[in-house]
């Protein structure tokens, strides 16, 4: 099976230098796009490929690009930004590409920038990804030296300046408008939409923010065509996907698999199943901000459509497994601690609601829970939902909470009733 995202990555070895990357077919997409295709062609090809945003929202990439004003009247400069603020708990997929094959990302970015006629690109990297930043910096330098970046790329007349930005690091920076504010040197608070970044983004100019994995999928689409990309997938969402598993499984890790691989295959075949002595209770399919799936969902195909049908989201596609030796209340409490801490403090429900949720969970866990605490938790999962808060942070934060209350309610009740955590000795 083809693995366009990871084909150049060899465990234990650094990324391919430019000449080897080229030898392996690298930068063919740049040549093809800039020399043979119009920006509209590139946009169309990507749209046809059914590539969906790998940051977690799963919005059609081609569609997203199509909202960018084009033509001579369009405001200048336009920006393309690679979102490498990978801070979703349990998620480490973009890091693999950044560290393992930075030229793939750069190639994808050149093509994507060409498609929307952006002349400035930023790679926004989480501060903790030091190795990634070094690898990307080196690759950018090589790409400049080889004429893939800078003025008049490959004689096409297309210019692209590319910069790396290592952020101070907040979860909020992963939200595209929070990222834009951070990149402008402002507080990483989200922006109201509309206007969307495609119209008024970085420094008020048209801007596309795409995830690292999304952009890295673009070279394959251009080189081999939209149909090839669609054929990689088991389902309607095109391409391959980096799936990860963490938790008490035999072989935690990250694999590039066809889009739409079932949860069971990922968990049992690739991750080797649960460790001896522990049993599966549930999983978060794509990072901390997704609803739990349980045993009955194991045959669900992991893509943006299928997981939604069972009340969760694929998110980043990197699962966190809950086993029977781990207290679900403490598990959720840990997540809520993260979200409460990462709230930017802009809107009331998120800023004040999440710390309250965390405190309630902590007291339940400490044996100080009150029966009405469960109602308060439900109130929060309802009112911290989409649209009620300014951005998606709080709605994401209550996804594991609301589903834990659904699937593990008896565990919460036992805590309150017994005034202790049954998992603690």
């Amino acid at each position: 099976m083809e693995k366009p995202l990871t084909k150049n990555i060899q465990p234990g070895k650094g990324p391919l230098p430019l000449n080897e990357y080229e030898k392996a077919g690298g930068y063919a997409a740049v040549r093809k796009a800039l020399k043979e295709m119009s920006p509209k062609d590139v946009q169309e090809e990507v749209k046809q490929s059914n590539l969906k945003g790998r940051g977690g929202a799963g919005f059609s990439t081609g569609m997203k690009w199509s909202f960018v004003p084009m033509g001579d009247d369009a405001p200048k400069p336009k920006y393309l930004i690679a979102n490498g603020d990978e801070m979703e708990p349990g998620t480490f997929k973009d890091r693999l590409i950044l560290e393992g094959d930075p030229h793939l990302l750069i190639e994808g970015m050149i093509v994507s920038a060409y498609a929307i006629q952006a002349n400035v690109a930023y790679i926004f990297i989480r501060w903790a990804y030091k190795q990634s930043a070094l690898a990307v910096e080196k690759a950018i330098r090589e790409a400049y030296d080889a004429g893939y970046l800078g003025k008049n790329i490959l004689g096409s007349g297309f210019d692209l300046e590319m910069h790396i930005h290592t952020s101070v690091g907040r979860y909020m920076c992963g939200e595209e408008t929070g990222l834009l504010n951070a990149l402008e040197g402002k507080r990483a608070t989200p922006r109201a939409k509309p206007p969307y970044p495609q119209v008024s983004g970085l420094f008020g100019k048209p801007t596309i923010v795409n995830n690292i994995e999304t952009l890295s999928s673009v070279p394959g689409i251009i080189t081999h065509g939209a149909d090839w990309f669609k054929d990689l997938s088991h389902t309607d969402d095109g391409g391959t996907k980096l799936y990860g598993v963490s938790g008490r499984v035999k072989k935690p890790g990250l694999w590039e698999l066809p889009m739409g691989t079932t949860v069971r295959e990922i968990l049992e075949e690739h991750a080797g199943g649960m460790q001896d002595g522990v049993k599966f209770r549930g999983l978060l399919p794509g990072g901390a901000s997704t609803d739990f799936l349980v045993k009955e969902h194991l045959d669900v195909r992991m893509d943006y459509t299928e997981v939604s049908k069972v009340g969760s989201r694929m998110g980043t596609g990197t699962m966190i497994i809950l086993d029977d030796k781990t207290c679900p209340v403490a598990f959720v409490k840990n997540l809520e601690h993260f979200f409460a801490q990462e709230s930017c403090g802009w809107c009331t429900p998120c800023r004040e609601g999440l710390p309250w949720v965390e405190k309630i969970l902590q007291s339940i866990e400490d044996g100080d829970g009150q029966p009405e605490d469960l109602d308060l938790l439900s109130m929060h999962s309802k009112y911290l939902g989409p649209g009620n808060t300014f951005c998606a942070l709080a709605p994401g934060a209550v996804e594991p909470l609301q589903s834990a209350l659904k699937y593990f309610k008896e565990d919460f009740e036992r805590h309150v009733k017994e005034k202790r955590c049954p998992w603690r000795l």
Partner: protein, 904 residues
């Protein structure tokens, strides 16, 4: 118009508004925090949630924030939907998880928007059973108290301070539920508009530190609609009193004048009213003691009657006294013996402004109109220091032109952060030509530093470039010529060009040049506006009333025999050189001074009559746009303290003047004035007459919750004293009266059921952010002649050439320091700089004067020794001297003088 449905009821509304604005304008009580009518929406607090339905058939609906949704045609919403109601209560519940619930000891209590919204949403029972977070507070200087624990993180403070007022030293720090609003380091808030935080903050984080010194609840204040007396803009204020002291100043909304805000000089400058230096008795210099001694009223009236003879008398009026007071002085001493107490130079400048605005085609803008200007040229005036609120208006104007592009991007203007992100720091064409650096430079496209004459020459050439009928100054410098062309081009392309100048630079030529530019634009069919800053609260009114300058009075006294002098609310030592004033005073047998504060002039008086400050007096003053506005006493002072006009009436009456006896209430005085000076006929419409009643009732100055009436003076007499009658206005000094909405010029405080804070202003406006119901207060007396004729000024000064060993010394104004009254407030006095002299570092190097070392300045017969401040932007050959600082001699500037190192 758009048709929208609120809880099933159809309304025609403006689609350019958001749903919150529409709901509030329609009179619905929808709670909010982060939205502010002057600052728009940002969607942070989530308090104004409503249910919105897709269409008629959608029964489910979804929660939306009203402030972030346009009122587009066909919108269907519900405010009363149970889920929306519950969510709004939840928002309060969240905000309250960390709020200290310290209302009883909080200065905001009783006028707290958070209290009002809490009650409105019905949140009562606390379910959060954990500790609250706490913060450390900061000392933010003499004006503002900081109590961060009360903060509900609505972000209004930083949005006002940083985004609206362009301040830098207040910011949001940290994140999640520990966001902190303060300064990076403890210290004085630098921005000139910091006091507005008191009203912008929906709770008690930022409160008025000066009020804390003599604290009272809002409901315990007797308040009046008043006009700020600390510059010439006439910002509307509310003055609040208790126990005979002025407790605080709030801004009073006037859509055309100051909108929602006032500057810190206006808010915190009131301390002089309570000053130890107040004159509270009638004083007469004892024959034997030679000291001022208290006497009673009848004695003094008889004494004055004996000493006054009209043909040997001189009266000096005042630009800080009301029209009525100046008029009465004029009546007492006679037209020929009356002099406006303004220096010759300044009077010329004010009269020039009046002439330009009356005879020329360019109208002068209200501050609201100034905010809408898309291209601005400031000539000669340091507005932040002489007309602060106009400077704030111009900061908004600088965003007008860039804002034009948001329409194309489909961003509604109320979507504040989206607008700011689209615009970034982009500013429209904005030019500042002054003699020294000004704070508005930071938003200017270009600045130009030159001597006043050269600023005028720049202006004349811009006018010429716009229209060849306007004479050219003929600047030949290449760089300057390109600047002239650039400014002319920008003005030509403007939709609402605005030229701003003023009397602050002391140069007629600069003002004439400003007029020529505005006229040249009008000549070419542009609707250009022209604004002049004047320095005092009634500079315009006093000049319009007419009379000669103070210098003329000084000359007359030297030449002819005069015996008695009467000075109205004026310290002549601030108006003319010390020596001249001394000689002037020496000429008189009797000097009578009507004033409220001891000063050097009262020291020379034989008789001192105690008069009311703006807070204890009624009257009419005229602002820089020629708007006549009425101010009302907040309290009746001790009986002996009266309005100047009333004292002057008493003196006239004592002389047996028949007319005077018929003058009783303020309206009589205004009418008498109008009769003699029909030009002022509109002042009778500036506010309703004293006989005005609603349902037969007066408008109470006290809220209906006013407390302690039976106890306040019980230590003196257990009988409750009868409240004073007010024959001068339709306001009463009681809590009884009409409790609906008073006419716009008679609003003593803003209050509406359920709305105890300043936010209740919404209920007084025709629509939120719009004019007050019944129209914004004030009547304009000056409009362009409209005869279409333009006669350009042709007197063009010669270019300035630096002279060896001689400097042109120009005036430097200070918002805190240059104004006579506010510096007497303790809080403001802490902001007043020490005297200094500004020098170009090159000039200073030539003189071998190091920074901060003293220079000796020989100027108009004075020798000053002042520390030098290096000013890179001060043109060579110029020096700057602060004006009006306490203890500094009055020197008529600009003037030429010599400077040397003081070491020699």
């Amino acid at each position: 118009m758009a048709k929208i449905y609120i809880d099933g009821k159809a309304y025609e509304v403006d689609p350019n508004k958001n749903l919150l604005e529409v709901c509030l304008s329609l009179g619905y009580d929808l709670p909010y925090f982060c939205w502010h009518p002057a600052m728009g929406s940002v969607g942070a607090c989530r308090q104004c949630a409503i249910k919105k339905f897709k269409d008629e058939d959608d029964k489910q609906g979804k929660l939306f924030m009203a402030c972030m949704e346009p009122a587009s045609d066909g919108t269907r919403i519900s405010i009363t939907d149970p889920e929306a109601v519950e969510f709004r209560a939840s928002v309060i519940e969240w905000l309250m998880t960390n709020h200290p619930h310290d209302c009883p000891i909080c200065d905001e209590g009783g006028e707290c928007h958070l209290q009002d919204m809490t009650v409105m949403t019905g949140h009562t029972y606390r379910r959060h059973r954990y500790n609250k977070r706490t913060y450390r507070n900061q000392d933010l200087g003499p004006f503002i108290n900081h109590e961060m624990n009360r903060c509900i993180q609505c972000y209004r403070c930083v949005r006002f301070y940083r985004e609206y007022a362009d301040g830098r030293d207040l910011n949001a720090f940290a994140a999640h539920n520990h966001v902190y609003f303060g300064r990076q380091e403890e210290g004085m808030l630098e921005n000139e508009f910091s006091g507005n935080l008191v009203e912008v903050c929906p709770t008690g984080v930022f409160t008025d530190k000066t009020l804390k010194e003599h604290y009272n609840r809002k409901w315990d204040l007797t308040a009046s609609p008043s006009i700020c007396h600390h510059c010439g803009l006439g910002c509307n204020i509310i003055a609040g009193e208790r126990y005979g002291g002025l407790r605080r100043i709030l801004s009073r909304y006037n859509g055309e004048v100051n909108g929602y805000f006032i500057c810190d000089r206006g808010r915190f400058g009131y301390g002089f009213v309570n000053s130890q230096k107040r004159i509270r008795q009638i004083l007469r210099r004892g024959d034997a003691s030679g000291k001022l001694e208290p006497v009673d009223k009848s004695t003094i009236l008889k004494h004055l009657d004996k000493n006054f003879s009209k043909d040997r008398m001189i009266g000096i009026g005042s630009p800080r006294a009301s029209l009525e007071s100046n008029y009465m002085l004029k009546k007492l001493v006679g037209e020929n013996n009356y002099y406006i107490g303004i220096s010759g130079r300044e009077l010329k400048l004010i009269n020039l402004a009046i002439e330009i605005l009356q005879d020329g085609p360019a109208p002068t803008p209200s501050m609201k109109e100034a905010e809408k200007a898309d291209v601005v040229l400031v000539l000669g005036e340091d507005l932040t220091n002489t007309a602060p609120m106009l400077a704030l208006a111009l900061r908004q104007a600088a965003r007008q032109k860039p804002k034009q592009k948001i329409k194309k991007m489909n961003i509604p203007e109320w979507n504040d952060h989206a607008v700011r992100e689209a615009l970034q720091d982009e500013k429209g064409p904005f030019y500042v030509a002054t003699s020294q650096a000004t704070k508005l430079d930071e938003i200017a496209t270009k600045t130009w530093r030159a001597a006043p004459d050269d600023i005028a020459r720049l202006g004349f050439d811009i006018a010429h470039s716009l229209n060849s009928k306007a004479p050219a100054a003929g600047n030949s410098d290449k760089e300057l010529k390109s600047l002239i062309e650039e400014i002319a081009e920008a003005l030509k392309n403007a939709e609402n060009p605005l030229i701003v100048s003023g009397t602050g630079s002391g140069s007629e030529a600069v003002m004439r040049a400003a007029a020529n530019i505005a006229w040249a634009l009008c000549d070419s069919g542009k609707q250009a506006r022209l604004s002049f800053a004047v320095q005092e609260s009634n500079s315009m009114g006093a000049a319009l009333l007419g009379g000669q300058s103070l210098e003329n009075a000084l000359e007359r006294a030297q030449q002819s025999k005069t015996e008695a002098l009467m000075v109205l609310e004026n310290d002549l030592y601030r108006r003319a050189p010390e020596e001249a004033v001394n000689q002037f005073f020496d000429k008189f047998k009797t000097i009578t001074v009507l004033d409220y504060l001891e000063n050097r002039t009262t020291e020379r008086a034989h008789v001192v009559i105690p008069v009311g400050t703006f807070a204890e007096a009624d009257g009419t003053i005229v602002n820089n746009e020629g708007r006549a506005q009425r101010f009302y006493q907040a309290f009746r002072p001790d009986e002996v303290i009266q309005e100047s006009w009333r004292w002057l009436r008493d003196i006239l009456a004592e002389k047996g003047h028949a007319d005077a006896k018929s003058l009783n209430g303020l309206d009589d005085f205004s009418e008498a004035l109008i009769k003699e000076y029909p030009f002022f006929k509109e002042i009778r419409n500036a506010a309703p007459p004293a006989g005005f009643r609603i349902a037969g009732e007066k408008i109470p100055r006290q809220p209906h919750r006013y407390s302690g009436r039976t106890a306040m003076t019980a230590n003196i007499d257990v009988n409750v004293p009868k409240p004073p009658d007010d024959s001068d206005s339709a306001l009463s000094f009681t809590m009884e009266g009409y409790f609906g909405r008073p006419p716009s010029s008679l609003i003593p405080f803003f209050w509406s059921p359920g709305w105890n804070s300043a936010q209740s202003i919404n209920k007084y406006q025709t629509e939120v952010g719009g004019p007050l119901r019944g129209g914004d207060p004030g009547r304009r007396l000056i409009e362009p002649s409209g005869n279409g004729k333009i006669s350009y000024f042709t007197e063009i000064p010669e270019a300035f050439h630096p002279q060896k060993d001689e400097w042109l010394i120009v005036p430097v104004h200070h918002i805190f320091g240059s104004e006579e009254l506010s510096v007497l407030s303790e809080s403001v006095s802490k902001r007043v700089p020490q005297p200094y002299v500004d020098l170009n570092p090159g000039d200073a190097a030539q003189l071998k004067i190091e920074e901060a070392k003293e220079a000796e300045i020989e100027l108009a017969g004075n020798v000053l020794r002042l520390p030098v401040k290096y000013r890179n932007e001060m043109p060579q050959g110029l020096a700057g001297l602060p004006v009006g600082l306490p203890g500094m001699a009055m020197i008529d500037l600009p003037a030429r003088g010599k400077i040397s190192g003081a070491g020699k």
